[in-house]
């Protein structure tokens, strides 16, 4: 059927074309990584160590949400831990006071994250760059004090404990595996959703705000709306990571969620993997966890000071070798392999158009 074929051809050309506009990388890489991650529990590793990867999956969600906010919209956040904590405390408080099942408390805790994101987003309307970064850094510190002060509600240092498990009926090892797969699924779904947003027309507006706010205003873009939208999306997924961590891993919500390390790990992961790429933070997080928690602690039993020193050196070497991120370097390699065919197709499309006119 010639007509059918023509439609197919146009659709394909259009996809190629939009792929270039919205900067969509090859999907094969993502699929490959997913397959590897899904196979890990069957690879014969010590299942007790599976928790590290579960934590990595959840941290990856936080890192990706950080990248959407900072790498795409340019609103620097040094206090992303606050969304992590918002999710955990949101679900914990609902459990403590209403005793609702987790299938209700986790989704509601996301609203808590969104609310927190909007509160933090308001200063972003008046401040930029380093000033905004300082304000966002101050938020977790202030909230920590807040949690200690209202001890009756938030439980002070120990926090709210004994949160229900997601899979209470399974045996210990099976639960580890189930937790791992659930976290993997959450990671995959969240990154796909964030990815879809970042490579949509809305995502393009985010980048325009990063590049030139005044220019975006001149284009009639309501910058306020898009900035808050970016904060809200970031907060939503950040708090999802937090509440999932509370139920899957530690079973409690405590002020340790607000640790500065929880704000810093997403940043390290994103810079390792490639800022503003969305897939970069995923690559970065797994490298971080494998290196820090597995290689330095299990394979080479080093003391903690040496660990940190070695880790910093390795990160520096990575950043010097791939200043734009490892993830981006890999994807650019893959794109180089694919390039010739796509250019040909676009040229064909142009030739066809020239014939018509």
């Amino acid at each position: 059927m010639p007509l059918n074929m023509a439609t197919k051809y146009i659709r394909k050309a259009y996809t190629n074309f939009t792929t270039h506009i919205y900067d969509v990388p090859p999907r094969m890489l993502a699929f490959l990584i997913l397959v590897i991650l899904a196979a890990v529990p069957f690879a014969g590793i010590n299942l007790l160590k599976l928790d590290i990867l579960t934590a990595a999956n959840l941290m990856a969600i936080l890192a990706v949400s950080w990248d959407l906010l900072v790498g795409r919209t340019g609103q620097i956040s040094l206090g992303h831990a606050i969304f992590y904590a918002a999710g955990a405390y949101g679900t914990a408080l609902l459990f403590k006071y209403f005793n609702w099942p987790i299938w209700v408390t986790i989704p509601l805790s996301l609203l808590c994250g969104v609310g927190m994101a909007l509160i933090i987003g308001i200063p972003s309307l008046r401040m930029k760059g380093p000033y905004l970064a300082l304000v966002t850094m101050a938020f977790p510190l202030a909230i920590t004090g807040f949690l200690y002060y209202f001890r009756d509600i938030f439980g002070g240092e120990t926090g709210i404990r004994n949160l229900p498990k997601v899979f209470p009926s399974l045996t210990f090892f099976n639960r580890l595996i189930a937790n791992y797969y659930l976290s993997l699924a959450l990671m995959t779904i969240s990154s796909i959703i964030i990815y879809k947003i970042a490579t949509s027309k809305t995502g393009i507006v985010f980048i325009s705000i990063l590049d030139d706010e005044l220019g975006a205003k001149a284009c009639g873009i309501n910058v306020t709306k898009y900035k808050l939208m970016s904060f809200a999306i970031s907060g939503l997924f950040g708090s999802l990571a937090g509440s999932a961590y509370a139920h899957l891993m530690v079973g409690s919500a405590s002020p340790s969620y607000l640790d500065f390390s929880n704000s810093i790990i997403p940043i390290i992961a994103t810079i390792l993997g490639g800022i503003g790429t969305i897939y970069g933070p995923l690559v970065g997080t797994y490298i971080y966890y494998l290196m820090n928690r597995y290689v330095f602690q299990e394979l080479l039993p080093l003391d903690q000071t040496t660990q940190i020193l070695l880790f910093i050196i390795v990160v520096l070497l990575f950043v010097i070798k791939w200043p734009r991120g490892i993830g981006r370097a890999i994807v650019e390699k893959l794109e180089d392999l694919e390039e010739p065919r796509e250019i040909e197709e676009i040229e064909k499309e142009r030739a066809k158009k020239a014939e018509k006119s």
Partner: protein, 243 residues
């Protein structure tokens, strides 16, 4: 009714009066030029009209509707669009995506015919200014002349009722200037109303029917290019007083 009415607009920066009691009107279909020496307040005037600066006193009306003090994006959505003296492209985005940003605004979205995809529309806009070759290049790789044209195309993507062009020929070589003059003329034939601030008087005089002259924040003369060229006050401002 005039398309744009500026009434007694005044802006002070500390002790300096950058724009002093400026009033003028622009009618539909006109091209108006604004000239004046450096520091005369032309760009400040643009910033006041488009909402980038808040005026101390005075009013701006678009089709009789008071738009004084509205934020820039709202003014752009009402159809009063500007370009910048120093280009402001979105450097990380492909050229075509620069246009897509404008099409993503409230006004831009309403202007797209339902049958067209925004990408197709953006492609057409780029073809109009001759940038379809570099459609997928990131804007940071474009030459200065191309960026100027991109800025123009981005403004036109909102299908404005009135365009304020801030030094459209600044930094362009003679060939690019000629090209720019042609595209402005074409836009004028399409029925667009324009106000142009410019230093290159030769290029400007080819385009406009009416010129306003600013000096130290005040309007000192108004008239056709020929009248302005004969005006003693204007010659004094540009060349100094004859002894």
């Amino acid at each position: 009714m005039h398309l744009l009415e500026v009434e007694k607009l005044t802006k002070r920066f500390g002790g300096l009066i950058a724009v002093n009691n400026v009033s003028f009107q622009v009618d539909e279909g006109e091209i108006v030029g604004i000239i004046g020496p450096n520091g005369a307040g032309k760009t400040t005037l643009f910033n006041l009209i488009t909402g980038y600066l808040k005026a101390d006193s005075g009013k701006v009306k678009l089709r009789g509707e008071d738009i004084t003090g509205l934020p820039p994006n709202k003014i752009a959505n009402k159809g009063l669009v500007r370009t910048f003296q120093i280009v402001r492209p979105f450097r990380h985005l492909p050229t075509i995506a620069n246009i897509l940003v404008a099409l993503q605004s409230y006004r831009g979205r309403r202007r797209i015919e339902w049958i067209k995809t925004p990408e197709r529309k953006a492609m057409e806009m780029l073809e109009d200014v001759g940038l379809s070759e570099v459609m997928l290049e990131p804007a940071e790789n474009l030459s200065y002349g191309d960026l100027k044209r991109l800025e123009m195309a981005r403004a036109m993507a909102l299908e404005p009722e009135l365009v304020l062009l801030d030094e459209p020929f600044g930094g362009l070589n003679p060939i690019e200037t000629e090209y720019m003059i042609k595209s402005i003329q074409r836009m004028h034939l399409d029925g667009h109303t324009m106000v142009i601030v410019e230093h290159k008087l030769q290029a400007l005089m080819k385009l406009v029917k009416r010129v306003l002259v600013m000096h130290y924040g005040e309007l000192i003369a108004e008239g056709t290019p020929e009248e302005i060229a004969q005006n003693k006050k204007v010659i004094e401002v540009y060349l100094g007083k004859a002894k």
